[in-house]
């Protein structure tokens, strides 16, 4: 068996609070296969962001361990890029779009021209050629989210992790961004892990959906999405298989099944 891209092993997370310990995750285990698109869904407050922060090395689990390509995770791992929940604040407002994208490239030690080329390529990939000189706050919400995706892929990561990346954009922009993420995944063969509230979106994008449920949360179900790629907003969403899967996942998240 090949090593999974990410291996979550019996992970437990407790937060200390003034009145005792807040048990958030209780023995969560899951392997993200190389090249897969995996969504994490679950009710609000269940611990999705918490799990994602553990995966990105921004926090350390109370128990269990996380491995990225077989390496036990200690700090933010190389080759893993993150798009955080609150994009309006994750882009640095004092930097132009191109400087924002160039910021994570500091570690890559690229030459000045190579950096500029990489920034241009990343902007082109998300369809924002020519906006490099603007400030993020001069762009629409959807464009800002494209910038944060461009910034994430600028380092050519092999794993992309996103926390509700499309939560605050309108429906049309959301569809566009979903297709953009699928394109990025195809173009670069990135293993993608996404937290979302939107079950339709999870079914549309994923190879597999992980349902977190309970307090403390456990993996309640792992749903294989056996709808073939390439998918399209028009046909996939009208597929009866799509409807079945959505109903199933919806029931799981609501605790109905």
């Amino acid at each position: 068996m090949t090593t999974p891209a990410i291996s979550i092993r019996d992970v437990t997370m407790d937060y200390p609070t003034p009145d005792g310990v807040n048990h958030v995750l209780d023995g969560v285990s899951y392997d993200v296969a190389e090249g897969h698109f995996v969504s994490i869904v679950g009710p609000s407050g269940v611990g999705k962001t918490t799990l994602l922060r553990l995966l990105t090395g921004l926090a350390t689990p109370t128990g269990g361990e996380i491995q990225v390509r077989g390496q036990r995770l200690t700090s933010s791992p190389e080759g893993l890029a993150v798009v955080l929940q609150d994009y309006t604040r994750s882009l640095m407002p004092w930097l132009t779009v191109e400087k924002n994208i160039a910021l994570p490239l500091r570690n890559a030690k690229l030459s000045r021209t190579a950096t500029r080329e990489r920034v241009e390529e990343s902007l082109a990939e998300v369809g924002l050629t020519g906006t490099g000189r603007s400030y993020p706050w001069q762009l629409s919400g959807g464009m800002q989210q494209r910038v944060s995706i461009a910034r994430a892929i600028a380092v050519r990561p092999s794993i992309l992790v996103m926390d509700e990346p499309f939560a605050s954009v309108d429906a049309q922009t959301r569809f566009d961004l979903e297709d953009l993420v699928l394109k990025v995944r195809d173009d670069f063969g990135i293993t993608t892990l996404m937290v979302t509230h939107d079950i339709d979106e999870a079914v549309y994008l994923s190879d597999e959906i992980v349902v977190l449920y309970g307090k403390p949360a456990v993996v309640r179900d792992i749903v294989k999405i056996d709808i073939p790629f390439p998918r399209s907003q028009m046909t996939t969403r009208n597929d009866h298989r799509f409807a079945d899967l959505r109903t199933h996942v919806y029931g799981m998240v609501r605790g109905l099944e």
Binding site: V82, S90, M92, P93, R106, W137, Q138
Partner: protein, 258 residues
């Protein structure tokens, strides 16, 4: 550029009150025989003799030089120090109360101590200015860096930026609006201390000029000094605002849109 013009227009609109005041002063003092309140027209004649530009090299240049050098030293020391302290939890806990304490001493009261320590030369004046101006800058920088947005910080960490890159390229730039508030206060203090530091043992500088004129009953000269101080203080603040507007373009642009 548009914004700069609008800013100039705002200044002109703000100028109506001073204009009314000057007109009133001019008329009210025209017939004055009180030696302490000479007619403004007389002051103005003397003002032209003194400050356009006869005495500028002797009395204005040294003051401005001390002010700028002292203020820059304060900024160059206080901003990096504040960044380091603000980023460290124990640094903030141990250093901030001390800084707060020293800051609550009126800066002018410290001048005599510096005179005792350093004597009566330009070095003493610059040290007094730098010392007094550095506290508001230090406190503002500590506060700004400490309150770095957590999402920004997480993002920077996930990029695996080095600690120093996170400090100087993420936390400090994000804190600049707060730092500028401290710089503004520090600059005003620096101006006051510049003048105050000249009232003892100096023959040069605007503070010295005004004081000596007063002591020698050259009341008209003293008035011209006071007026020039007012004008200079105002102009320096304008320059400061302009520098701030340009440096924090991103901040004001973002604020306007949200």
């Amino acid at each position: 550029m548009m914004r700069v013009w609008r800013w100039i227009l705002a200044i002109l609109i703000g100028a109506w009150l001073p204009i009314v005041f000057i007109a009133w002063w001019w008329n009210a003092s025209a017939e004055s025989t009180n030696p302490y309140f000479p007619p403004l027209s007389v002051i103005w004649e003397q003002f032209k003799v003194n400050w356009i530009f006869e005495l500028v090299p002797v009395h204005v240049v040294p003051s401005i030089r001390n002010l700028l050098v002292g203020f820059l030293i304060a900024a160059v020391i206080a901003i990096p120090a504040g960044t380091l302290i603000g980023a460290s939890r124990s640094g903030t806990r141990y250093v901030e109360p001390v800084v707060d304490f020293i800051r609550s001493i009126p800066p002018v009261a410290l001048v005599p101590i510096f005179i005792l320590l350093l004597g009566l030369d330009a070095q003493m004046r610059i040290t007094s200015i730098a010392f007094s101006a550095s506290f508001p800058i230090l406190l503002a920088t500590i506060e700004g860096v400490r309150s770095t947005n957590l999402v920004v910080l997480d993002t920077a960490k996930s990029f695996r930026l080095s600690r120093s890159a996170i400090l100087w390229r993420v936390r400090l730039p994000g804190a600049m609006p707060t730092v500028f508030a401290g710089l503004q206060v520090g600059f005003q203090i620096a101006f006051v201390v510049t003048i105050a530091s000249e009232v003892l043992g100096s023959g040069f500088g605007l503070g010295a000029f005004t004081l000596i004129a007063t002591d020698s009953f050259l009341i008209v000269d003293a008035w011209t000094g006071v007026i020039l101080l007012g004008i200079l203080g105002y102009l320096l603040n304008l320059v400061f605002d302009l520098v701030e507007r340009i440096s924090l373009r991103w901040y004001y642009g973002q604020k306007k849109l949200s």
